[in-house]
Symmetry: C2
Subunit: 285 residues, 2 copies
Amino acid sequence: MIISIVGIGLLGGSFALSLREKYPNIKFVGVDTSVVNQKIALAKGIVDEIVSLDEALQISELNVLATPVDAINKLLPYMLDRIPDDRTIMDLGSTKELICRLADLHPKRSQFVAVHPMAGTENSGPGAAFKELLPNKNVIICDKEKSSPDSLVLVETFLRDAGMKIHYMTPVEHDLHLAYVSHLSHISSFALGLTVLDKEQDEKAIFDMASTGFSSTVRLAKSSPQMWAPIFDQNKINVSKALGDYIELLKKFKDAIDNKDLETSLNFMNRANDIGRILAGIEKK
Amino acid sequence: MIISIVGIGLLGGSFALSLREKYPNIKFVGVDTSVVNQKIALAKGIVDEIVSLDEALQISELNVLATPVDAINKLLPYMLDRIPDDRTIMDLGSTKELICRLADLHPKRSQFVAVHPMAGTENSGPGAAFKELLPNKNVIICDKEKSSPDSLVLVETFLRDAGMKIHYMTPVEHDLHLAYVSHLSHISSFALGLTVLDKEQDEKAIFDMASTGFSSTVRLAKSSPQMWAPIFDQNKINVSKALGDYIELLKKFKDAIDNKDLETSLNFMNRANDIGRILAGIEKK
């Protein structure tokens, strides 16, 4: 069997790496517009060969579409147009509504499985891929009833063998929740990094005074703009709402501080503390 | 020699633990209003004995004032009033301007050293203390010229032997920088946790969809409200300004998303990426 990774970055690369030991007889081929990424992916043993997209479509049982979401929107119709019968495409995009809506318009919709692994780091590219990224993480499949039973079995088998726990939901639910539990935290982190950089022209002050708390809060600000700009755009309505909610809360917090209203400050923080109970669950996973 | 820890929590407890091996002949005594904290501190070997504050002042060469900052403001004048000559008080508070201003009013100012270690976790209390917290971290001493040479030598010796790197600045500089590189990231994290909790009444969605990126960004939301409310209050003007800057940036980001202005979004994120270079420096420390 051949699996193609289209866009050999953190997620696509880690997916291949997490399957290679369990599936010694699968050949992984890679498609990437970046020559340096091709070289890194070969050198790291993520894929055995680099091929063209058209060739990948002809030879692969499963095509893993792991590019940024704007490229997924362009590539998915192109790939569905050309894919032979009984073969499968899965994507790994962070937004699902627009992608699924595009897929729904296509006569070969049933050969597509919409997937999003709840895993990532602030790093990107095949050099950032590692086989421990996906195991023990959750993965969402959207609109599973629109995929053919065979395509679904193939994808679910590989996701489970990559060590992931599968959940199902609609693309609308997915994008709404993701705006709050993922997209918003990236924006808060980008903005925090930028606020500090704008203020602290003297980098030494940041070096000397930032603690590990700052590092962990601002870590996501290192994430790839090219990957995230299209995600925020495709999930614009939900992200804008989440960001609006966040700004409102921050304003209330600021008012409480300005007015020396310690009771409201304490109440805010006490309620926020409850996230600890939930984090304990996430970290145990 | 006897050292007293007044307020045996994460910082005070970790300070004692980081010195005990190197100073086998120092007796550590603890002062704490919480009986359970007294018991935990004794059981963990942070202190050898619990004493009253007045007793601590009579017997200790160095008194480490490690309570929340509102309590520091009340205790510092009381302690300076009663401290014998040639003995020393150091505080470990996260704000310095108000505390130093109070100290400046006191005739025994020179027996006080204003200290702030750039270290912490989201956990609090003596149970959270650990001897690896302070080594290799930075520590700030404010207004060192106002402390007597002997008090300064005593404090610097222990800070260095706890493995810390000492920096010097004025209380005004300290509080301004801290608003950006520490206090703001706590507020952004508290507000993020609360925004998600307010929206996601269904906790399962958070469990299933949050990734490690969310956990790290929201980790500080577990921090102690009783500790942080007085910090934000004491550093009100700087924190309010930092929070205002942050809200402005978030609004611009939201406008860019609403207007599908990808160029501005990309520009924001590319600039924020520069924090990566600085984080690399912090994590290497």
